[in-house]
């Protein structure tokens, strides 16, 4: 193949590929709309966390989540995954003494930046507002981790060899993941693992429920208490509410 043929062939190949790509641009679906996942009832799941009940030495929610969802723990802070983790916060202002232990997890935002930036629509929002990752589609670009303002996204840097709950899949290395509000349990009418464990073995600080139902626990708690959400200024409309923050 001489230079002329090489350039011609290269040009034709690239033109063809770009043409197909251009067609994809024109016909791309609007991912900002929730996908149809077959949910029977139009719910909008949200969580309320009562920080007045949450203590620093309690981590039953973390353990239950790990057990239920096969979340990888490699013994190294750099690569360990916590769908729910806890941080201790203390006021920098000495005049305002405030110390809290705060569980942090995916906020399942109504306007999720992770969904917006995912180049392959592996991250999507279900009809009921839960943000999930299709682990068979994720190509591991980690843009969602960059875009998430809550640091609630994790990456499987290593293979996870632990598989305590055989009824739930574990993820291979090379894909991103985050809390799913235990969507597989909610779909069965059960409580997420962290909420159930907090009720049974902890202080009962976590509540999950339908934000569209004014009679639900979470709606009542939001109505009766002063609640805050994290980084509301960003317009992400997070669905995790904190009492006592």
């Amino acid at each position: 193949m001489d230079r002329r043929d090489f350039l011609k062939t290269g040009g034709v190949l690239l033109a063809g590929t770009s043409g197909v790509y251009g067609l994809r641009v024109l016909t791309a679906p609007d991912v900002s709309k929730a996908s149809d996942t077959g949910s029977a009832v139009r719910r909008r799941w949200g969580m309320v966390i009562d920080l007045n009940k949450c203590s620093p030495d309690c981590h039953v929610c973390l353990d239950a989540c790990r057990q239920e969802n096969n979340v990888a723990l490699h013994g190294d802070k750099r690569w360990d995954i916590y769908w729910i983790r806890k941080v201790e916060i203390a006021s920098k202002d000495p005049a305002r003494s405030m110390e809290k232990s705060v569980p942090l997890l995916c906020n399942h935002c109504d306007n999720p930046p992770c969904v917006q930036v995912c180049p392959v629509q592996a991250t999507y929002k279900r009809d009921d507002g839960i943000v999930v990752v299709d682990h068979h589609r994720c190509m591991g670009c980690r843009y969602c981790m960059i875009a998430c303002p809550y640091n609630a996204r994790y990456f499987n840097y290593k293979e996870n060899h632990e598989w305590p709950n055989k009824e739930y899949p574990k993820r291979s290395h090379g894909v991103a993941e985050s809390c799913t509000f235990c969507a597989h349990l909610l779909d069965q009418g059960r409580q997420p693992a962290c909420v159930a464990a907090c009720r049974q073995n902890g202080p009962g600080a976590l509540y999950v429920g339908d934000l569209n139902d004014p009679q639900s626990d979470v709606s009542q708690l939001i109505a009766d208490n002063t609640v805050k959400r994290l980084r509301e200024d960003l317009g992400t409309e997070p669905k995790v509410y904190y009492i006592g923050l």
Partner: protein, 407 residues
């Protein structure tokens, strides 16, 4: 005006040694990518707090270099500077290779490389800059090929159209690349000025590298190159440096001024390793010193000083690329304003990024691929002219030549 191009002989020991070294880099890169694909990218220095590392730094560096190369190439096609026509082919070829290197760096950085060749085409999401940019990159490569073809075939009008298109397209490519960072809610990323500073730094780094490549190639192949051409490129580089420094300083001043990003900007600008890299690496060594050297008559007309300045600029922009990618991750978004945050489960607060040997091998592998493509390209394609003279000499030889349309 007639310019003669000639391939290099490529028979010397030095040439074959260069090919061997580059091929070794490629093998090392493949080994590194294979290990990361099979075992996981924990073998890199990336963590759950620093999910983007050296490959993304190199990607934005390469993509930036392509802009500057295209501007040098476009001096003839866009601005009608006939004396720079001899550089048009080699600069356009390099721009294309740099862009390919950027794409390769991004692809080899994926957690699941196998899916990177399928999913973006079958499930693209054009609200993501990561979907928009590959489309821009591929279009850019395609236009570069057309532009190169027009240059090779001496198609005057097509060259003009293609060069204008490719330079404008390059602007959108680089704005889009800056947008990957600028459109995320992190204090040290989120700025409308970031794409502008990215483009400005891209122009200066690309022009600097072109000066180094051109002078190096002409000297190595013992082809005549008029100093006047390099001196003018040096002045152009000086203007780019000042422009880049201005936008970068404004961008960071803006961050420091805003209450919500002040704490992160203060840590970035006035504390720790990043501030040393910013003030010493980027501003003093990479911008102020080369700008002074290039503007000063004595040094700005001396080829060794111009080359020295160009090296400083390339190093400075490497610092800038590092500073675009890494600090925005090391300083996590503030979730609790006015609070001290600590945690025993994960890395909280300010964290560090340590590059590993395998990451370096991966980056060298990409460099090896484009290095080989460049070295072999010089041997099989008529990229390099037999000489490059100033306009005065061209004019005396052939009056009336003012642009590509007149060829």
């Amino acid at each position: 005006m007639e310019i003669h191009y000639r391939t290099i002989d490529g028979n010397s020991k030095g040439y074959y040694l260069l090919l061997l070294v580059l091929a070794t880099f490629v093998v090392g890169g493949f080994v590194s990518v294979y290990l990361m694909c099979t075992r996981g990218i924990y073998l890199s220095g990336m963590t759950n707090r620093i999910p983007w590392g050296l490959q993304i730094i190199m990607a934005v560096f390469y993509i930036g270099l392509s802009a500057g190369s295209l501007v040098v190439s476009g001096l003839y096609g866009v601005f009608g500077k006939i004396e720079y026509k001899p550089f048009a082919r080699i600069a356009a070829y390099l721009a294309m290779l740099f862009l390919i290197a950027g794409l390769l760096s991004i692809i080899t950085d994926q957690g699941r490389i196998d899916r990177a060749f399928i999913q973006p085409f079958t499930h693209s999401n054009f609200s993501s800059m990561f979907s928009i940019n590959p489309a821009l990159y591929m279009g850019h490569i395609m236009i570069c090929i057309i532009y190169l073809w027009a240059l090779f075939k001496e198609k005057g009008k097509l060259t003009k159209v293609a060069s204008v298109t490719v330079v404008l397209w390059a602007l959108s490519v680089h704005t889009g690349t800056g947008g990957i960072f600028a459109l995320t809610p992190r204090e040290l990323y989120n700025s409308p000025l970031l794409p502008a500073s990215f483009v400005a730094a891209a122009l200066s780094s690309g022009a600097a590298l072109m000066i180094l490549v051109l002078v190096g190639l002409f000297r190595l192949t013992k082809r005549p190159l008029d100093d006047g051409l390099v001196i003018w490129l040096g002045r152009l580089l000086a203007v780019f440096i000042v422009l880049a420094m201005y936008v970068i300083l404004i961008e960071n001043g803006h961050r420091y001024y805003l209450i919500e990003s002040r704490e992160a900007a203060r840590s970035f600008l006035f504390g720790g390793f990043h501030s040393v890299l910013f003030w010493f690496g980027l501003i003093i060594v990479g911008s102020i010193i080369p700008a002074i050297l290039l503007f000063k008559r004595a040094t700005g007309t001396s080829i060794p000083w111009i080359l020295f300045s160009a090296i400083l600029v390339v190093l400075g922009v490497m610092c800038e690329r590092y500073l675009i990618v890494i600090p925005g991750q090391t300083y996590a978004p503030t979730l609790f304003p006015g609070m001290e945050v600590s945690g025993r489960f994960l890395e909280e607060g300010v964290v560090a990024y340590h590059i590993t040997l395998l990451e370096v091998l991966q980056a060298l592998g990409v460099f090896g691929i484009i290095g080989l493509a460049f070295a072999l390209g010089l041997k099989v394609l008529d990229l390099l002219p037999t000489e490059a003279r100033t306009q005065r000499r061209f004019s005396s030889a052939e009056s009336g030549a003012t642009g590509p349309a007149n060829d």
